[in-house]
Amino acid sequence: MSHNSGRDVLLSVGIDIGTSTTQVIFSHITIQDMSSGFSVPRFEIIDKQIVYLGGIHTTPLLSPSRIDMAAVRDIVAGEYDLAGVDRTTIGTGAVVITGETARKENANDVVHHLSDFAGDFVVAAAGPELESVIAGRGAGADVFSKDHSTTVVNYDVGGGTSNLAMFDRGRLVAVTCLDIGGRLIRVDRDRETVSYIAPKIKELCLAEGIRLREGDRADVPTLRRVCTAMTRLLEMSLGLTPKSPFFPRIRTEEDKDIVLPGIPSHICVSGGVADQIYRDQPEPDVFRYGDIGILLGQSIRESQAIARIARIVPNQTIRATVVGAGTHIAEISGSTIEYDESLLPVKNVPILKLNPAEEASPTAMCAAIGEKLEWFRLDGELQLVAIAFTGPRSPSFKQVGQLAQAIMEGAAPLLAAGFPLIIISENDLAKVLGQAVRAALPGQRGFICIDAVSVASGDYVDIGTPTAKGRVLPVVVKTLLFR
């Protein structure tokens, strides 16, 4: 029966090119049929095991605004060799470019080049909010909140940014990203001077009345004042203290305000700075890493406001983001689906999402698909899109037929332009809908119809080649690509 054969292990790679460090990990993602064997199969990801933790390498830069692509590639290739991993065996994974590095001129090139290099179904992902989510998951904040039925905030404080993700009983409820990090002020250890101050931190110093310029002596009390100001901004983002007028400036996406749905019950801190928060003895050499990371960590540790939230220890500190990228990016589709294997994999497919009003009736659905397809015209040319909706729970057979008809009529221009139909539903109906589409599609037109995947307007999706004997497809939903 299905429970004997329904198990598969995917080798997954996670690569994080961060502000300060570049890291690689490999993990095993185990997919298993969790049904009794007497009912419809239900594949789930049941285990994520890290099988190789790579070294922590300094992110190589050619200039302050360019990443050294060749050097990054050498680091990654070296880790594959050390781990003994052949890139053709990689089943899934993600390359993320995070923090300040994501704003370098060639960030887009680097991440896409690396995802091609890393394996067939390794996605390139970026964006401050996605970073927050994967770091939170890599730190284990989502699992803790679910297991303890509580709220947990994870703050991933890295070199260039601080990424907040809040989970309520396993569910993501808030994300934000602040331009606060340990490497935004760098110190020349030989000359004991401040060698670099990030522009936004210069503004912060000005607002706080702290006199600090590049070339100044690296004066610990002054730098501590800067770190205290940074910590106060973190406190504001957590809703612990009223927001100052300067606060919006420090948000990575300045237009996106952050309001948590309540003060979280627990906090954990990950990222390179986190080690200073959880260690027993303060690091005596505060400029050990040539930046203010250690001072910032100490400042967060001493915050009276943050201490009001119960502190928990994350599963990962400096590696939270890379572990999140390697183990938490991939999802799997529902287990009763229809697809044509020759179409797979598909990458970077934009989502055309219907809202509840638009999927209320077949007529509305058909009209909405036709109308929204126009949004995806580039220079008058249609492009491949995936049509996504929630779908009815336990639909009647008649409803499924109407749904198939509405989709095919609405998507007629797409079909006329020669694109395959890609349908994504949240509720369990993909197999019967797919068969209805197959029955109605002219000729031997290929299509993909999957369910149990939740996407939003503006997302992009990658769908991988089948796993678990063809029952499920690995899926990656990317909330943001490069803007």
């Binding site: 029966m1 299905s2 054969s5 329904g6 009794s36 007497f38 009912s39 419809v40 199969p41 039925s149 509580t150 009983r169 009763t336 229809e338 729970r393 336990s394 639909p395 009647s396 057979f397 409803q399 499924v400 369990d428 109906l429 993909a430 197999k431 019967v432 797919g434 068969q435 209805a436 197959r438 029955a439 004997k469």
Partner: protein, 307 residues
């Protein structure tokens, strides 16, 4: 020792006091409807002078799902408990009166039990069988009671039915879909969604399905009888499952390659838990079609079939 008369006297006195107290209470109770006048005169020495008739009714205990019902008075974490309850239809957080459950829980339990009993004891309406265009037959059981008490009779088709099926159904069909009431007539609600879904799926493999036989008082074994009778390559039986306290509408699809009474039970492949709250019937039908195709391709079923 009390004399019998003394006892009678004491009981009479106590009852009199009780009734007087009740009469006062009902006078003071505005929600009660006006008492009906009793026509009969005093009998047996005592009678209440007025009978209170209440027009109200208890709320429908089944209107709220057990997943959303929560009676713990001071929960430590209400949201957490409710979230946990969403993963089961088990009766969690129903609270208690001393060591027993509350009236509400007792009523809900009995209502669910009654639903299950109804599913078992109700017959599938003949209009439904006609409407679906089924070829209607019956097992060797001649009544619901016999069906329930004699499982052996429920597994065999009666002679009349055998003759009818032999006459009306195509021989050597690739696939035959059949339907039986089994232990839940309520499960027939899934038929209008699962049958066309199976047919649609099979059609994509260029497999057409003939008329559908229906067996009243039928158990799973009837598919072996039918398979042997008409030599169908695959038989797929849609049958009502024994109801639990969660639903009475659950259906199973049993499938076998060249079924016959000589085959062991392990020769059957089953997909269970088909209903709106489990695997949706339309989606299950699509899945069943692919399994049937796999059975046809590999010429085995049950535990020997690798899905």
């Amino acid at each position: 020792m009390y004399q019998e008369n003394d006892v009678r006297q004491m009981v009479r006195q106590a009852l009199g006091e009780l009734l007087a107290a009740q009469a006062t209470a009902s006078d003071a109770e505005p929600v009660l409807a006006p008492a009906a006048e009793t026509a009969a005169g005093p009998a047996g020495g005592w009678t209440p002078e007025r009978t209170a008739v209440e027009e109200g009714f208890a709320p429908d205990v089944t209107a709220i799902s057990t997943k959303d019902e929560f009676h713990v008075p001071k929960p430590e974490n209400r949201e957490g408990y409710l979230a946990m309850k969403q993963s089961t239809v088990g009766r969690l957080g129903v609270w208690r009166a001393g060591p027993r459950y509350n009236t509400w829980s007792m009523l809900h339990f009995r209502a669910d039990h009654a639903t299950a009993q109804d599913a078992v004891f109700t017959d599938v309406p003949e209009e439904f069988v006609q409407q679906q265009g089924f070829v209607a037959g019956q097992s060797l059981a001649t009544s619901k009671d016999e069906f329930l008490t004699r499982p052996d009779l429920g597994r065999k088709l009666n002679d009349e039915t055998k003759a009818l099926f032999a006459r009306e159904l195509p021989k050597n069909a690739k696939v035959t879909i059949m339907v039986a009431d089994g232990l839940s007539s309520a499960a027939m609600v899934n038929i209008p969604d699962i049958v066309p879904a199976i047919k649609q799926g099979l059609k994509s493999y260029n497999i057409e399905v003939g008329p559908i036989p229906f067996v009243k008082y039928g158990r799973v074994g009837t598919m072996d009888d039918l398979g042997e009778l008409i030599s169908s390559e695959v038989v797929c039986l849609l049958i009502g499952e024994r109801p639990g306290l969660a639903t009475g509408e659950s259906m199973s699809a049993y499938m076998a390659y060249q079924p016959s009474p000589e085959r062991p039970e392990s020769w059957r492949t089953v997909v269970s838990n088909i209903y709106s709250g489990g695997t949706p019937p339309a989606e299950a039908g699509a899945h069943v079609a692919t399994i049937i195709k796999k059975i046809l391709d590999s010429k085995v079923s049950g535990v020997e079939l690798s899905l």
